[in-house]
Amino acid sequence: MPVILQNSHVSPEVCLMTIKNTSGRAGQFYMLRPTKVLDPLLGRPISIHDCVDGNCSFLYRIAGKGTKLMSEMRAGDTIEAYGPYGNGFEPVDSDIRLIGGGIGIAPLYFLARTHKAMYPNRVIEAYLGFVEKPFMLQYFRAVADFVYVRVGGYITADVPFEENVINYACGPNPMMKAAKEEAEKKNSKLFLSLEAHMACGVGACLGCTCPTVSGNKRVCKDGPVFLASEVSFE
């Protein structure tokens, strides 16, 4: 059973947990489940925030019973960690722009770090939006060439979508929808990392399907990263 190396608050509502012997690519996620608990029954789908020396860290917001229990776990405790799941971000040799809303910034940090390592001469810009107090900015400042922060309102309103820069967005659905609309207006390529209620994480339960231009897709298995032009928002 995977062991927790560290688990601490980065803000009153957001925690960072590192789990030993886990792996994955940027954009992939794990189903994390406090051991031996029946309520809640299922794992929480949490994206990988970083992975160093075979230990992944997960940035998560305390949103309900499951994440509350997770926040109370300590270094040395064991946790059920199933994954890595999902397709992850495809690395592209291009300047990139990250658009994160709230806890949606989590997978974008790993993407930025991976991208910087693969294409050191490419420019990375991060546009990060928060409802209240921002968090984890120092992480982004360490790896991105430019970090823009907005508190309140839609971060997408401030993003200069451009044809020659590839955008990656992760955040609440209204933000994703707005990002898709803006990107399409400017003919700018945009990838979305979607979030959905899910039970299994492996494509079996069909609980997380989202409508796309080519029929229903499973967020857990076919995603969570989709080209924005493929996704049909309800």
Partner: protein, 302 residues
């Protein structure tokens, strides 16, 4: 012969543990965790004649020690299954159970005829899905309508017929007797229990269909009671399911009279649930000096 070998309708199962419909795709999704050939059988995702996109809106949510779903039988349709998926299921090495739902008797019959061309072992007739408006569960709510569809399907299928019952019927034993009389070769139960949740922030039901199916450990004692009651009501084999998540849960269903058991929601919480149950049953047989697990089948009724 292994201690867990189980004969279900003439099919030799390696063990009495079957993946429940709708929780195991067509058999390949959990390959990263274990070899599906260790399973007694796999019941595939519930099919409908023409396929379906399923329900819109939120499809799953959690409840204490359980979950709810309103998938709405999203599936690729019977023709696709016959052409592509039944071979995938066969290649797993577990017994192949094809689960079929429907909106009308004509649909059920047409689909059954098409499935005759598929390489499967058992047809599981779903007259108990609570999440499709056009029917599904409607057939399983009383003995008369259940018997009608079972009789028609039995007349055309070339496979052994297992009928999956709904716990939402007012008298599930009455439905069980009716489908037995109509020609069912076996019965599986229970499908999910109809439930409801409300999002207090939006002041709206969580599910677009308002009601949805409850499953998981929370429903296990209810499922066990119904399996026990149906086992006493009919002579045909009964496959028990509903909240089974450990080998002791499985033993309870077998002691109540079930020939085999299915595991569903438990796999979502713990992908290793089924291999762990199989291992637990094997150890139990060794420790209790059972030549075969069937020696304790229905033991509480003896």
């Amino acid at each position: 012969m292994s201690r867990l070998t189980t004969n279900l309708l003439g099919i030799q199962l390696k063990n009495p543990v079957i993946a429940a419909s709708g929780t195991f795709g067509f058999g390949k999704e959990y390959e990263g965790y274990f070899d599906p050939s260790v399973l007694g059988g796999i019941s595939g995702k519930g099919l409908t004649l023409h396929g379906s996109k399923g329900n819109s809106g939120i499809r799953v949510c959690e409840t204490p020690a359980g979950m709810m779903n309103s998938i709405g039988l999203e599936n690729p349709g019977v023709a696709h299954f016959v052409k592509h998926e039944c071979h995938v299921m066969r290649s797993t090495g577990a017994a192949v159970i094809c689960n079929l739902g429907g909106h009308s008797i004509e649909d059920y019959v047409k689909a059954t005829q098409m499935i005759n061309d598929a390489d499967i072992d058992i047809l599981e007739l779903n007259i108990s899905c609570p999440n499709v408006k056009e029917g599904g569960m409607a057939f399983g709510m009383c003995g008369k309508t259940a018997a009608e569809v079972v009789k028609k399907v039995k007349a055309v299928t070339k496979f052994p017929l297992m009928v999956k019952l709904s716990p939402n019927a007012s008298d599930i034993s009455e439905v069980a007797r009716a489908v037995e009389d109509a020609g069912a070769d076996a019965i599986s139960l229970i499908n999910t229990l109809l439930g409801m949740r409300i999002d207090v922030r939006s002041k709206k039901p969580i599910f677009n269909n308002v009601y949805a199916g409850v499953s998981g450990p929370a429903v296990m004692p209810i499922a066990l009671r119904m399996v026990h009651s149906v086992c006493k009501a009919v002579k045909i084999p009964v496959v028990g399911l509903g909240g089974i998540s450990s080998y002791t849960d499985a033993l309870e269903f077998i002691m109540a009279g079930a020939t085999a058991i299915q595991v569903g929601t438990a796999t979502f919480a713990n992908p290793f649930a089924m291999p762990q149950i199989i291992e637990g049953l094997e150890k139990y047989c060794v420790q209790n000096k059972l030549e075969n697990i069937s020696e304790i089948r229905g033991i509480i009724n003896k």
